[in-house]
């Protein structure tokens, strides 16, 4: 019998225990992968080249305060600015409060130039621009409510006292958050009695080099005016938004630590059970000339294999599962998707490997320390 064969036989001799242990390691690594992926999705907003050129201008006081719409021509005239789009969070209700999805009033003709990564049929863009109460909707929201192009929907304002009646004219399928709904800011203004208010301005810079100056210029232009502005890159804006949720990193980080710790406990305890059972065999191995390191190697290989098998099942299982699940509706809209990135997979597998090593340390030490005579005396 070869050494690898010996290790394999040992590992397989109690199939029930083997499968229970592998499964519990797999479950823990599944959870670990899930938590890390969720953390990644929540704290690392997706970036694209187009997004790097976008700036967000909002009221300095807070997101709950608006800006005058008369700022727009002044922003457009600034050097380095290629597009300016009004964007107002509508926050309406579609039929029921539970049907939440993001809705924005925007300058219809600027939507495509500003969010250039959003994939949409060019004909649909024109339809959207040419009809006052048209709206563009992301594919996820379309699917969620079973909408099709040409459907009429009514949103009931909660922040703004108006109820826009919209016709779906375009569907975008890729690129940006696919749950958004965009409609004409002009129509919104009309419903609101042209009060001249805008939530934010989203600006496209001509190139990345002008951004630092542009940020300073915008904020200093409107300093000491009735509404002072705060300008930041889209990424800084999103990160700031995320920080409002509180310390998610600490929460998820500590839960992940507990999971890993639990895993070590479970695997280490299984390994010690497996090794205590064979203390007589280990004593015989020693008696026929295996030294401490060789015995450690045998135990390590078994524990390593067990943890690695669990790790592979858990990490890749999570990956495969999340590719096929509708995360958006499952998480009540908190998460858009769960993309298990290669680096998270690598982290998960590293944890599994370390687990395999750590959990066999104590049991192997104990069995190596036991003398041949004591080992042979053991009954079970």
């Amino acid at each position: 019998m070869t050494i690898p064969g010996f290790i394999l036989r040992n590992a397989l001799r109690n199939k029930r225990r083997l499968s229970l242990t592998v499964l519990s390691v797999a479950l823990s690594l599944f959870l670990f992968t899930t938590m890390q992926t969720a953390l990644h999705e929540l704290t690392q907003p997706p970036t694209s080249e187009d997004a790097a050129l976008r700036l967000v201008v909002r009221n300095k006081v807070s997101l709950g305060n608006v800006l005058p719409s008369k700022y727009r021509p002044r922003l457009e005239r600034m050097p380095g600015v290629s597009h300016v789009m009004k964007l107002t969070w509508f926050g309406g209700i579609y039929k029921d409060k539970a049907n939440f999805f993001p809705q924005f009033a925007v300058d219809a003709d600027q939507l495509s130039p500003v969010f250039s990564e959003a994939e949409i049929d060019p004909k649909q863009i024109n339809d959207f621009i040419n009809e006052k109460n048209a709206c563009d909707v992301g594919i996820k929201t379309m699917q969620r409510f079973g909408w099709k192009i040409g459907d009429r929907i009514t949103l009931q304002g909660t922040i703004w006292p108006c109820n826009p009646e919209l016709i779906i004219r375009g569907v975008y399928r890729k690129g940006i958050d696919m749950t958004n709904l965009f409609f004409h800011h002009e129509y919104f203004d009309e419903l609101m009695g042209n009060q001249g208010l805008v939530g934010m301005y989203w600006i496209c810079a001509e190139n990345a080099g002008v951004i630092p100056d542009l940020v300073k210029r915008i904020d200093s232009t409107f300093a000491n005016s009735e509404s002072e502005t705060k300008t930041e890159t889209e990424r800084a804006f999103q990160l700031g938004f995320i920080s409002m949720f509180g310390n998610i990193k600490v929460l998820i980080g500590s839960i992940s630590t507990v999971i890993v710790f639990t895993m070590i406990l479970v695997t280490a305890s299984t390994m010690s059970m497996a090794i205590r059972e064979r203390s007589r065999e280990i004593a015989i191995l020693k008696a026929i000339g295996f030294d401490g390191w060789q015995i450690f190697g045998l135990i390590l290989a078994e524990s390593f294999g067990l943890a690695a098998a669990g790790g592979l099942i858990g990490c890749f299982g999570a990956d495969i599962l999340y590719r096929h699940l509708d995360i958006y509706s499952l998480s009540h809209g908190v998460l858009l998707k769960l993309d298990v990135t290669p680096s998270i997979l690598a982290a998960g597998l590293t944890v599994a490997v370390l687990l395999g090593i750590i959990s066999c340390l104590v049991p192997s030490y104990m069995s190596i320390q036991t003398s041949v005579v004591d080992g042979l005396k053991e009954l079970d």
Partner: protein, 388 residues
Amino acid sequence: MAIPLRYNLRSLVVRWRSTIATALGIALVVAVFVMVMSLARGLNATYISTGDPRNLLVLRKGSTAESSSQITRDEVRQIRYLAGIARNAAGEPIASPEIQVLVQMDRIDRTGTAHVLVRGLGPVGIELRPQVQIREGRMFRQGLNECIVSQRIAHRFVNCRIGDRFPGGKAEWTVVGIFDAAKTAYESEIWVDADEARAAFNRSFYGSILLRPVTDAASVTALTNRIESNRDLSVRVLSETEYYKEQTNTGAPIQFLGSFLAIVMSIGAVFSAMNTMYASVGARIREIGTLRVLGYKRRDIYASFLIESVLLALLGGALGCAFSLPMNGIATGTLSWNTFTEVAFEFRITGELIAKGMVFALVMGVLGGLLPARLAARKPVLDALRSI
């Protein structure tokens, strides 16, 4: 006759290494469950404890939060002097038109910024909230752009200590007092004078009116009807407690996280309990045989092993609850989607939550023990005795 409990206890003690490892595994699952649920519990408790059932809140029709509601000055004038509103000692109607503005502030731990709710109100509004008590400093005075902040806000955000100043709209606000709001939602607020807030933040509108009707049920309904049926007023009336109850959906994602973790982790813990129990059965086959010879029935053996597994799980459950207890009362905060502001709250570990954690451990123990106990009960006596 049942096998004495002492037999199970001793067996757990003899196998102390696997007992500890398995119990700790279950303990950690229970601890995570209790802690995450105590977050949701604390958040809900904050909202539920806020609001006085005697008060009514007037918001704009269709609006779900005070901070996104608008009430015109004309509406305030019409509502304030309606019959059916109680009067205070000075003879004024107890109706408080208020304004809510979000102000972005930096966190003290430098982990980012958050929106804090600034509430502009007058003396009547303060009178309506007796749970708010000044702990340090004094109440704000009109005309000086002074403000008072809650203890929790003072702990969580920069420039919120007495004497500090922070910008908000066109004004600079000076902190003159720190208040304690008995763990209600007001613990997440900064209070200023209503008129000063409207001037500083350029608002011609108010956000809401909090009022106290004269105290009998008939007149409350009459007042509500009078306000809601008036076609000049685009408002809705709800009781203050009802309003805060609506806000509790903020905790839903946390609750989801708690249940998800509990379910997945508990499956892992059940597997580990099964492993331990199988090993325990395997090592005691001769003992099982002896017990059978002594006259114990199969079902006694079955019950005995199941009880042992449950004991093990309950030990874990108790440990887990003990681990989570230090979190009780620790302050934290999150974003409320309704008001779009930071809501400060604390982990709240209630007796009910502890009980749930223990029941959860019990279920894990039963599930983990069923199959190994069955195996033990089914061992033929002779085989069992013969095995070494």
